[in-house]
């Protein structure tokens, strides 16, 4: 295993979350955070929806590593949208020298077919490519300081990462099996952290808890929980309590409103109270879920809901928050409580199972 002077040993950040929680945005912001101060980071898209291109406002990404952002201190983020068919052709080429034959197969629809009969094949190709970029070296140096993966949603993440089990069932022999074993070695090492994005809503929090249980079961290293789109209450504290209880009324607002001479009188004051109550109760039902998030027992960072459409400026703002979190995590790692070490199995993992088998 490579002994590095990096503050954090984690180099592969896998970001998952329930659909709609903003995992692509968080993955992109995390990549920017890791690139600050001169880091070279690869941001990988696995679901073929070109969400990264949209976020960075670039044309759709081809199957090649393209720079999408620069960060201070000479840092940069490159992005890659993995195309499964291309990855399979790469693979045929690498192992069998079969690129041209592969193209012919694609014309026959055979590659579609192969990925359809063995859904795990898709994931093997994707994770294989991810592993390759994590371990790639040029002139003896790592090409990327970190790789961030915009991974499939929580419902699929364990299966996605647990390729060995999936493929062992279907392809009990052959090179795919060998390949998956190498990938698993990296995924289960302390170089990897699977982060979960959630909202303060019932289903996302529940799915996060389920995913943590599944990932633990599959011996995959769990990183942080990112609570996304967090809002602060607009109301001052005294009014907030009454609003949450639902006892705030137009009469409470009327004296303060009077100097503004607004139309609508009491009717308006009542309507404003109704909206304030809804606002407060919505906030309160989110706030209640904080306890459940805390009970997950993972390092947690809250990211604010930003007004307006998501753009590069917003991404850098979120990245700033994540940088603080990464620094705190790194300090924790220095004191010997790294993300991986917090996983129960972290301590008893044999040395041979770490990334050096790549």
């Amino acid at each position: 295993m490579q002994v590095s002077s990096d503050p954090s040993p984690v180099r592969l950040h896998v970001v998952t979350g329930k659909g709609g929680t903003g995992k692509t945005t968080v993955a992109a912001a995390l990549a920017l955070a890791l690139a600050a101060d001169g880091g070279h980071v690869l941001l990988v898209e696995t679901e073929g929806r070109q969400g990264i291109a949209q976020l960075f406002d670039t044309p759709p990404l081809p199957y090649e590593e393209r720079r999408v952002a620069v960060a201070r201190g000479g840092g940069e983020v490159k992005a890659l949208a993995i195309d499964v068919e291309e990855a399979l052709l790469d693979y045929l080429d690498m192992f069998y020298n079969l690129r041209r034959a592969g193209r012919a197969l694609r014309k026959m629809g055979a590659i579609d077919f192969a990925t359809a009969i063995a859904p795990g094949l898709r994931d093997v190709l994707l994770t294989g490519k991810i592993k390759e970029s994590v371990t790639r070296r040029h002139d003896g140096h790592r090409v990327y300081d970190a790789v961030v993966v915009d991974a499939p949603p929580t419902g699929r993440i364990t299966r996605f990462l647990g390729v060995t089990a999936e493929m062992a069932q279907l392809a009990r022999s052959g090179p795919i099996k060998t390949q998956s074993d190498g990938v698993m070695a990296v995924l289960r090492s302390s170089q990897t952290a699977v982060h979960l994005v959630t909202l303060l809503e019932d289903m996302p929090v529940q799915e996060t808890a389920d995913a943590i249980a599944e990932l633990t079961e599959a011996k995959l290293p769990i990183g942080s929980v990112f609570v996304n789109m967090v809002t602060d209450p607009v109301l001052p504290l005294d009014g907030l309590d009454r609003a949450v209880e639902g006892t705030l009324s137009g009469a409470d607002l009327a004296p303060g409103l009077a100097p503004a001479h607004l139309p609508g009188g009491d009717e308006l004051a009542e309507a404003l109270a109704v909206e304030a109550i809804e606002h407060a109760q919505r906030w309160a039902s989110q706030d209640e879920l904080r306890e459940e998030v805390e009970a997950l027992g993972r390092p947690t960072v809250e990211l604010p809901l930003l007004a307006g459409p998501m753009d590069l400026g917003c991404l850098f703002e979120l990245a700033g928050r994540l940088e603080e979190h990464l620094r705190a995590e790194a300090e924790g790692a220095d004191r010997g409580v790294s993300i991986a070490a917090r996983n129960e199995r972290g301590a008893e993992r044999p040395a041979g199972a770490t990334g050096s088998t790549a």
Binding site: G19, I117, L257
Partner: protein, 408 residues
């Protein structure tokens, strides 16, 4: 199977947004001629809650209704008595409802297994059920869930136990997957490729072309030879089972075109969800399937439209300057209103864009609840929002809209 119909949807900025017709879901679910309602839309828009709320409303209107859910939130499932995954409808206790509400959660593997068992001898069924390829196909082939949802719908309809079946569609990325999956799967299982592959493992290679033998060699190189043998055994067993998956898929699909079936498209007021809804509406019209309308779920209509966002912001500043008693609270309430107006305007704008492209599609907006809907009371509130009279709102804004027409 035709490709998804992508009709050009041109923006017409010069014309004011047409007014969407109102959707009368109450009449729809109470009509004895309505036998199936399919709720579809992108993932995460509230299809399951919408289905359950409509089913509750139908039961309270006196109908015997079953709601087929795919992947309900745990607490909602519990409130419907769906802890047990037995793949059969269960009666939900709704006090004082003149009708009956039944609910079930789809178990896709079990539904697939049941088809196998129903169509073959015990020996053969066991052979198939134990086949590793079948196990992978029935639990993880993309589209199995959609296909099995349709299968189950077919079974429920055939049993004729219910006046009304409400179906929640699987949480796939694209709403179109629900319509495409059965055919995709049928095509796959009946396809040349799989037949040839099966043949290459079974009857020798005398009919296979050189190109195909090469293909087969590669597949076995990549996936290992065992998989080919499993597929071959599976296809052989399947052949004797019934006339082919494609025919079965077509028959199930036809069910959706029968009179008495209605589609309700659900979206949230977000660009992606409404884009999906738009594709789906085009597709339904291309397939001649009846559309009841669009539910725009989780909207944020303001409690008053007397004050615009800009004026509310200005008023908040004046209130702070005047510093009367309770100024902080009053100013905060004004800011809450300003945010609310901005959000509502954005949502209305998105809904208007949908209506510009599909002026004939009826719309019903459903305001967001403060928390998650996870019990019968929450469902009842939502049912009220779905089926209540169009103009019966606190601000008088019709339920087809989020803001009054003139403000948008």
């Amino acid at each position: 199977m035709s490709a998804p119909a992508e009709q050009p949807r041109s923006a017409k900025p010069s014309r004011p947004a047409p007014v969407a017709p109102a959707m009368d879901l109450e009449a729809l679910i109470e009509d004895p001629a309505t036998r199936i309602v399919v709720c579809c839309g992108a993932g995460g828009v509230g299809k399951t809650t919408t289905s359950a709320a409509l089913a509750l409303a139908a039961a309270e209107a006196g109908r015997t209704v079953v709601v087929l859910t795919i992947d309900p939130a745990r607490r909602l499932a519990q409130s419907l008595g769906l802890e047990e995954l037995d793949n059969e409808p269960r009666r939900v206790d709704v006090p004082e409802a003149p009708g009956e509400l039944h609910a079930m959660m789809l178990d896709m593997k079990r539904t697939f297994d049941d088809i196998v068992v129903a169509h073959s001898t015990p020996d053969r069924a066991r052979q198939i059920l134990e086949n590793p390829f079948y196990q992978s196909l029935s639990s993880s082939f993309s589209g199995t869930q959609e296909y099995m949802a349709m299968e189950k719908l077919g079974q429920l309809r055939a049993s004729d136990q219910w006046d009304l079946i409400i179906v929640d569609t699987p949480p796939s990325r694209s709403a179109l997957d629900f319509l495409d999956a059965p055919n995709k799967m049928g095509r796959f299982l009946d396809g040349t490729m799989i037949r040839l592959l099966a043949g290459s493992g079974r009857a020798g290679l005398k009919f296979a072309s050189a190109g195909f033998m090469f293909f087969s060699k590669i597949i076995s190189k990549i996936l290992g030879g065992q998989l080919l043998r499993d597929i071959s055994a599976f296809v052989a067993a399947l052949d004797t089972m019934f006339g082919g998956f494609r025919e079965r898929a077509t028959a199930t699909y036809e069910l959706l075109r029968r009179p008495g079936t209605w589609f309700v498209v659900v979206a949230t007021p977000e660009p992606d969800a409404l884009r999906e809804a738009s594709y789906f509406v085009d597709r339904l019209s291309a397939e001649g399937m009846p559309l009841a309308g669009l539910v725009v779920n989780r909207t944020h209509p303001p409690a008053t439209t007397l004050l615009s966002a800009t004026r509310a912001e200005g008023a908040a500043e004046r209130v702070i300057e005047a510093d009367a008693e309770g100024a902080d609270l009053a100013a905060a309430a004004l800011r809450v209103h300003a945010e609310r107006m901005i959000q509502a305007a954005r949502e209305q704008h998105l809904a208007d864009r949908f209506t510009s492209a599909h002026p004939e599609v009826a719309v019903r907006t459903v305001p967001a609840a403060a928390g998650d809907v996870h019990d019968l009371d929450g469902l009842r509130v939502m049912a009220e929002e779905l089926t209540g009279p169009d103009d019966d709102t606190p601000t008088g804004t019709p339920r087809t809209r989020i803001l009054p027409a003139r403000r948008a």
